[in-house]
C-alpha cells in the first residue's frame, strides 16, 4: 500500500511539471473520478448480478417451489428481464437513491446502509484522528533522533504491526482485557437516559475497536512523516535557522515540520481505502453495528443486493476521498499554487 501513495505522488509530480492551469486540472481530476464511479457501478453489476447466475434458484434451493411461484419471484426481483434492461433499471435507480431490495431482510438496501453509516463514521473518524496525531508525533521524534534506539524500536514496531492481521489483533485485545470492555455492540441496554451517560457508554464500547483500527493505521503516518522529515533534514534553511541561534526544538517545530507535513496530510485521504478494509474485519470482530458488520452479515446469505450496495458505497467513497487528496495537494503545496 506504500506503493499506492508513491504512485499518486509521482502522478502529482508529473502534473506539476506539466504546469496545467487550475480549472483544467480540477476538471480533469473530477472527470477521471466520475469515470471511475461509472466503472464501479458497472463492476458492481457484473460481480453481483451477472456472475452469480439466477438468484431465484439460490434462494429457493432448500424449499419445494412450483414453477408459478418461481416466475412470480423472478418478476418481483426484476430478474426475468433481459440483462441490458436490468442494467438500465439498476443504473436509473441509483440516481434516485434506489440500491435495490435486500433478499434476506426484504428492506430497501439504501435504508439499511443509511442506518449503519453513523457508527462506521464514528469509528473511522475517531481512529483516523488519533492515528494521525500519534503517527505524526512518533514519526517526528523518530526522524529527529534518526538511528537512535527510539527510531529503531519505532520502525520495528511499525513493521511488525504491518504484518499483523487486524482481526487477530482485535481478538487478542478481547482476550487480554477480559471483561474490562464490552466485547460486542455499541450500547448497553441498561444505561440511563441522558446525553452524558449515553455518550460515555458508546465511548466505552468504542475503545477496543478504535484501538485495533488505530494500531494498524498509525504506522503508515509514522513512516511517511519520518521519511518526509528526513528528506527535509539535510536542507540548508535548517542550517540557517540553527545559525540564527534557534533552539533545536524550535528549528524542528517552526521550520522542518511544517515543510514535511504535506505528504502526511494527503495520506489521510489516500489511506482511506485501507481504513475501509480495516473496518470490515474490526466491526466483524466486535459486532460494531456499522457498514463492516453489515457486509459480514450479508456474506452469510449471500445477500447479493445488500453486498452490491455496500460495495458501491465503500468503493465510491474511496474514489471521492482520492479525488479530495489530489485536489488538496494542489491547494496545500505553495509551489503548485504559485504557478
Amino acid at each position: 500500500m506504500t506503493s499506492t501513495t508513491d504512485g499518486h505522488l509521482a502522478a502529482d509530480l508529473d502534473e506539476r511539471r506539466a504546469g496545467t492551469s487550475t480549472p483544467r486540472f480540477v476538471a480533469g481530476k473530477v472527470g477521471g473520478a466520475l469515470a471511475s464511479l461509472v466503472l464501479v457501478v458497472v463492476l458492481g453489476f457484473l460481480l453481483f448480478r451477472m456472475i452469480p447466475g439466477d438468484p431465484v434458484a439460490t434462494m429457493t434451493r432448500d424449499r419445494p417451489t412450483s414453477p408459478e411461484q418461481l416466475a412470480l419471484l423472478r418478476e418481483r426481483l426484476g430478474v426475468d428481464k433481459p440483462m441490458w434492461q436490468q442494467f438500465l433499471d439498476y443504473f436509473g435507480g441509483l440516481f434516485q437513491g434506489d440500491l435495490g431490495t435486500s433478499y434476506m431482510y426484504s428492506r430497501p438496501v439504501a435504508d439499511m446502509i443509511g442506518e449503519r453509516l453513523g457508527p462506521t463514521l464514528l469509528l473511522v473518524g475517531t481512529a483516523t484522528v488519533l492515528a494521525v496525531l500519534l503517527g505524526m508525533w512518533l514519526g517526528i521524534r523518530a526522524a529527529w533522533k534518526r538511528d537512535s534506539a527510539f527510531d529503531r524500536v519505532q520502525t520495528g514496531v511499525a513493521l511488525t504491526l504491518w504484518s499483523v492481521p487486524q482481526f487477530w489483533l482485535g481478538l487478542l485485545l478481547l482476550i487480554a482485557t477480559q471483561g474490562l470492555f464490552p466485547s460486542r455492540g455499541m450500547r448497553s441496554p441498561d444505561v440511563p437516559e441522558g446525553f452524558v451517560a449515553q455518550s460515555l457508554d458508546v465511548a466505552w464500547h468504542l475503545t477496543l475497536p478504535c484501538v485495533t483500527l488505530l494500531a494498524v493505521i498509525y504506522a503508515q503516518y509514522m513512516l511517511v512523516m519520518r521519511s518526509s522529515l528526513l528528506e527535509e533534514m539535510g536542507s540548508e534553511y535548517l542550517t540557517t535557522a540553527r545559525a540564527k541561534g534557534l533552539r533545536d526544538d524550535l528549528v524542528r517545530r517552526r521550520h522542518a515540520v511544517p515543510n514535511a507535513l504535506l505528504p502526511a496530510v494527503t495520506l489521510v485521504f489516500l489511506q482511506f481505502g485501507m481504513v475501509v478494509s480495516g473496518t470490515i474485519t474490526v466491526e466483524a470482530v466486535f459486532s460494531w453495528p456499522g457498514l463492516g458488520l453489515l457486509t459480514y452479515e450479508a456474506l452469510r446469505g449471500p445477500d447479493l443486493p445488500l453486498l452490491q450496495g455496500v460495495f458501491l458505497v465503500l468503493a465510491g467513497s474511496v474514489i471521492v476521498m482520492n479525488l479530495l487528496a489530489e485536489l488538496l495537494y494542489r491547494v496545500l503545496d505553495p509551489r503548485v499554487r504559485a504557478s
Binding site: 506503493s3 504512485g7 504484518s163 492481521p165 487477530w168 482476550i175 468503493a315 474514489i319
Partner: protein
C-alpha cells in the same frame, strides 16, 4: 548456457547473494521461511493426518496446553499444534499461488503499458489506476462471495485484486530501461517487440519484480487469512484464518482460550514478517539509491 550474457548474469547473482548475506534481517527472514516451507511440505510424513478429523479427535474440547497437547485443543478436541502445522500448507499454497497470478498479471500489464504507445496503453494505465485506488480487500470479498467456495476461488480473488501495484512498478522500470541507448541500438539492428521485451526488458525488470514478489506473498497470506476469517474460505480445509473464525464464533475467545488464539495468529505474523524482511533486504540490495543514501 555458457554465453557471455549468462556468465555475466551468474556473476551478478553471486554478487547479489554476497550483498544479501550482509543484511541480518533478510538472512533471518530467509532462514525462518526455509524452515517453515520444509516443515509444511513434510507435514504428512511427520504428523498423523487423522488428528485433523473431527470424528476421530481424541482430546476433550478446549483443553489448556498439557504434556499430551502442547498447545491445547480446539472446540472439537483436536490438537491446536497439529491444526496450526497443517494450516501452514494452506496459507503457503494460497500465498504463493495468488502471488504468481498477481505478479504475472502485474508484470504483463506493466510491460505492455510501457512498451507500446498509443491508446491501448493509455487505457491499460487508466484501468490500473482504477484498481489501484479501489481497496483490494473489498474487491476480493466481492469476488469470493459470488464464486463457489474453495481454495482456488481465494487464490483467484486475491490474485486478480492485488496486481496494480506491481504493474505500476514494472511500468516505471520498463520506461527507464527503454530510454537507454542499447534499446535504440537493438531496434536499429531490426529487433522486434518480442526480442526487445524478452531479451532486454524482462531480464532487467525481473530482479525488481522478485523483490516485489516477496512482499506480495506476505500481503497475500494476510488477505487469505482475512477472507477465511470472514467465512469465505474452503469450509473443508483448515487454515489459520478459519481457525481464528471458529475461535470467535464458538465463543472460545470470550471463554479465554488463549491457546486457541495465539498459535495461528503468531504463525501469520512470523511468516509475513519473514517475507517482509526478505523483501526489504532484496530491495536494499537491488536499489542503488537506497544503498548509497542510508
Amino acid at each position: 548456457m555458457t554465453s557471455p550474457a549468462w556468465q555475466r548474469r551468474r556473476t551478478a547473482a553471486g554478487q547479489l547473494w554476497r550483498e544479501f548475506r550482509t543484511n541480518r534481517g533478510g538472512l533471518i527472514g530467509l532462514g525462518v521461511l526455509v524452515a517453515i516451507v520444509v516443515l509444511a511440505v513434510l507435514a504428512p510424513l511427520i504428523t498423523d493426518e487423522g488428528g485433523l478429523d473431527v470424528i476421530t479427535a481424541t482430546g476433550s474440547p478446549l483443553e489448556p496446553p498439557s504434556g499430551e497437547y502442547w498447545l491445547g485443543t480446539d472446540v472439537d478436541g483436536r490438537s491446536v499444534l497439529l491444526l496450526t502445522f497443517w494450516g501452514a500448507r494452506v496459507s503457503l499454497l494460497v500465498g504463493f499461488a495468488a502471488t504468481i497470478l498477481s505478479v504475472f498479471i502485474g508484470t504483463l500489464v506493466g510491460i505492455v503499458a510501457a512498451h507500446f504507445r498509443g491508446w491501448p496503453s493509455a487505457v491499460l494505465l487508466r484501468i490500473t489506476d482504477f484498481f489501484l485506488v479501489l481497496p483490494s480487500l473489498v474487491l476480493a470479498i466481492a469476488l469470493s462471495s459470488v464464486l463457489t467456495k474453495g481454495i482456488w476461488t481465494i487464490v483467484l480473488a486475491v490474485g486478480v485484486t492485488s496486481w496494480p501495484a506491481t504493474a505500476r512498478l514494472v511500468r516505471a522500470q520498463t520506461l527507464t530501461i527503454e530510454s537507454r541507448p542499447y534499446i535504440e541500438r537493438a531496434t536499429a539492428l531490426g529487433g522486434g517487440h518480442g526480442h526487445i521485451i524478452g531479451k532486454h526488458v524482462l531480464p532487467a525488470v525481473l530482479p525488481l519484480v522478485l523483490a516485489n514478489t516477496t512482499l506480495v506473498v506476505g500481503s497475500s497470506i494476510i488477505a487469505e487469512s482475512t477472507l477465511s476469517f470472514l467465512g469465505l474460505g474452503d469450509p473443508t480445509v483448515v487454515s489459520w484464518g478459519s481457525m481464528l473464525q471458529t475461535a470467535l464464533s464458538s465463543g472460545s475467545v470470550t471463554a479465554g482460550a488463549w491457546w486457541y488464539l495465539l498459535p495461528p495468529g503468531l504463525a501469520i505474523v512470523v511468516i509475513v514478517l519473514s517475507f517482509t524482511l526478505v523483501g526489504r533486504a532484496l530491495e536494499t540490495v537491488l536499489n542503488p539509491r537506497l544503498k548509497a543514501g542510508r
